[in-house]
Amino acid sequence: MSGTRTTDRTGVAPRTGGPGIGESVPRPDGVPKVTGSFAFSSDLWHDRMLWGGTLRSPHPSARIVSVDIGAAVTITGVHAVLLHDDVPGSKAYGLEHSDQQVLAGEVVRHEGEPVAIVAADHPETVRRALDAIVVEYEVVDPLTDPAAAETAPPIHPDGNLIRRIHLRHGDQQVVGEVQVEGTYEVGMQDQAFLGPESGMAIPVEGGGVDLYIATQWLHADRDQVAACLGLRPERVRLTLAGVGGAFGAREDLSMHVHLCMLAMHTGRPVKMVYSREESFHGHVHRHPARMWYRHHADRDGTLVRVEASLLLDGGAYASSSSAVIANATCFAAGPYRVPSADIEGVVVRTNNPPCGAMRGFGAVQTCFAHEAQMDLLAGALGMDPVELRLRNVLATGDRLVTGQAITGTAPGAEVIRTCVDHPSAASIAEDPMALPGGAGRTADPAHVVRGEALAVGFKNLMFSEGFDDYSSAACRLADGVATITCACAEVGQGFVTLVQQIAHEVLGVQEVVLEPASTETIGSAGSTSASRQTWMSGGAVQKACEEVRVRLLARVADEHGVELDGLVLVDGLVASLTGDLRVDLVSATSDPIHAEVEFRHAPTFPLDEDGQGDAHVSFAFSAHRAIVDVDVGLGLVKVVELTTSQDVGRVLNPVQVVGQLEGGAAQGVGLAVMEEVQLSDGRIRNASFTDYLVPTALDMPPVEIAALIEQPEPGAPFGAKGVGEPPSITSTAAVAAAIRAATGLALPRVPVRPSDIVFGGGAA
């Protein structure tokens, strides 16, 4: 089964309205979220709880001379004030390197770094206690220019270079007849999830702790928290609290250790909720990037060689920077056949806010650059930019610049063709509300120019470079009800719906119960990131259900003395193909059947010293066509329409796929025209939703879904690829290119600011 679903703009119509795979089964948490009854982590409550709070460094770089908590601890209602020395176990944590301080000791390395934590009887008491702590800092000039980081004195014992990859592929001497060169820049984007960090820790008698927290990976959190608390991992139990969005920002620890320290110190449950401003300091952001490129091609448009030098600012701590730079480097040349490449990817440490995971993970930055280069090259060749892309786009069997051959599906040409062939519904607006400037009434139609452009991109799915990537799931079938246990973090992607669909598909059950995600009941599900959970935890659930199915059929065959081969599971019945045996599921499972499994994807391998190796499992392609209106006089932009095609393997739930495509595109539009954490001297100037702008309904156009390309991916459950990240990769590049097409400006930087259009600036 293979094909392309061409759809109307609402996506794919459900097949039958049933509960199985391929249906738009509604989310069980959908109505509660919309009506306000869903319990997010900020709604956690305990009658005996205290409130926690965090004192943060006002300086991007300073030595801590002294901390005086004398006044704070004497305030009535204050139960604990804890510092660096109070951290019971490891003083540092981190996803890839344990380099980030739980609480600052001798130095602070970024604005907002936690210095002290407080527990008190009321949020107001917490605030007063935090105000009463006196920290004497000796301010140090911050290192804020990533280009200077490698030569500057180290700001951390681990040094200022987090990772350098020098990828060399193919013949290094070749030169193209036509060359184009450019330098590009991407600003720092925030994940801007709606539910700020929050959680609650409850001490357990005998020395352990229960932590309820909104996160993307319970087990990785647990191991880091336990190490910092000096406890064995099983003494720390994490349960997923309602997650209000993640997008990468909940991969690193935030308040986790702080909450547990306060709870264990006071013997009371402790709750913490970050304010919006604090949240901007409390999680990592997307890496800002500076990227130099030179593309070489033959006169006929065949790519010959790509040279690139990528510099990502990792901020003060390593977080997932090593993996982000690997992605940026591996996918730097885009979804094209490039026989020769020299790509240097560097990520460094500075005193800017730490950067780490965000939807698209390194591929967003390079897609913006390589697609600008492809348009530049098309111009230099006098060639249609779509033709240029089609001539070079990757297909199954082609090699990446890492030397890896693509063995799975790679419908790059299909996403391009279906996207550009899709008719546009965009008309020219008269209503000023629909013109650039919107509610500000600044434009009349005469001031507006229109531009249109295409961008193509791709990205790896799941963890790479030899990581042992797996998920665990259990299925228990009892009295006809399937109970699934999996620690997969539901962060909005819809795993809770897929679990039901998968169990129904495999077991024919009507009722599926999903146990709360917890470290207590099952092994790791891995991270809800890298577009991996549908494949990995979906795969684990499928495998567990299949094992139960096999055992169930064996039991019925055994009990009724019939051939196993002749039995099927349909509509809540175990039946023989001959029709003479019909056993209902409820009675067949009065004695429960249980299976617990681990599911792994095909192994990957590290990159060698030339950045070569089979480092990735699978790839997903996408294309966006953007149509924009630009008010050149004021530099204001209205994105009029976005059309997309995406390589999805197989659609498991149409509504959820469309939701990912629309939401990802909105984040991409945001990065293209407005979303930026603005820094000056290492300080965030816009740590609020007043000034960190995300698209509103007037900024986000309809997303036309030209095609969901369904070519089932070998090895993936039901052939489905992850769909979460591609929409945010190509949308930014497409919108920026459309603004270029409208204005004729180079615009080498996103977000494109009004002044970049008016003054033709934005030079990287």
Partner: protein, 280 residues
């Protein structure tokens, strides 16, 4: 906390708690309180004071109660009398903010980016201030004395704002880096008074306090064809926008550079004038 149900109530409560905070819609106040910028001792809520919630026409003026919301300002029978104010109200925030935020709150906050401020400045609005000890009147430019600084005294509130009903087109435009729900980078109100033969221009986010482009106003007033209705020449428009730009003293901040603000205010001036009186 006092929830006042009459003007009398509100003034009494304010008199007995001179350090009280006046709470109208709370869309500015609560942001400051939550940020920890404003110590709260006592609050006098005025949102349920009927005298502050209405408006009426008084001869050639309209008297607007200070607690009118943006949604109130958008009602057609009022919007037709005060079109620029309605346009500004529509540009504010989201529906939730427009249903809650008030005209008096916008003025009393005294932010250079307050969207009604340039309109009220262009209209030469007069504020009626009231306290337990009496009433006084003040022009808007006397009232807002700096960035978020006003001449409001302890125990006093804004009761009403009086604006003239003018014969002529009005335009309000606002530049922001998002198409809605955005704080202005630059804003401009241009109102034409045909009977007085004046064009008045109020500017937002380009100076510390409410700003009129008086030279530009005088220039364009003298160069319009008031009787024939011919649109001004390109040279006249250029000179006008130049004078508008010259009136400003913008700053660089995270929302925009001074250079961009100067440029944008000139563009807005030209466009607003063209909409109001046509372009050659």
């Amino acid at each position: 906390m006092t929830i006042a149900t009459s003007l009398e109530d509100a003034c009494c409560a304010l008199a007995s708690h001179p350090d009280a905070l006046v709470l109208a819609g709370g869309t500015d106040l609560m942001v400051a309180v939550n940020r920890g910028d404003l110590p709260v001792h006592h609050v006098v809520a005025i949102g349920r004071v009927p005298e502050l919630r209405g408006w009426r026409r008084e001869g050639d003026h309209v008297r607007l109660g200070a607690a009118l919301t943006y949604t109130d300002l958008l009602q057609p029978d009022l919007a037709v009398l005060q079109p620029a104010l309605a346009q500004a109200a529509r540009s504010v925030g989201s529906p939730q903010i427009r249903n809650t935020g008030t005209l008096g709150g916008n003025v009393a906050t005294g932010s250079p980016a307050g969207d009604t401020i340039p309109v009220l400045a262009a209209l030469d609005a007069v504020l009626e201030l009231r306290s337990a000890s009496g009433t006084r009147e003040m022009r808007l430019d006397e009232f807002v004395t700096g960035v978020k600084r006003t001449a409001l005294e302890g125990g006093e509130l804004i009761e009403a704002i009086r604006v003239p009903v003018l014969d002529g087109p009005q335009e309000f435009c606002k530049v922001g880096t998002r198409n809605a729900m955005v704080i202005s980078v630059v804003s401009l109100a241009l109102v034409v008074d045909r009977s007085g033969r004046t064009v008045r221009v109020g500017l937002g986010s380009v100076a510390a306090s409410p700003l009129r482009a008086t030279e530009a106003e005088a220039y364009i007033g003298g160069h319009l064809d008031w009787d024939g209705g011919r649109p001004p020449s390109a040279e006249v428009v250029d000179r006008f926008t130049e004078l508008v730009v010259g009136a400003t003293s913008p700053i660089d901040d995270h929302r925009g550079s001074a250079r961009y603000r100067r440029h944008a205010v000139g563009v807005l001036a030209g466009r607003a004038l063209a909409r109001a009186v046509g372009a050659a």
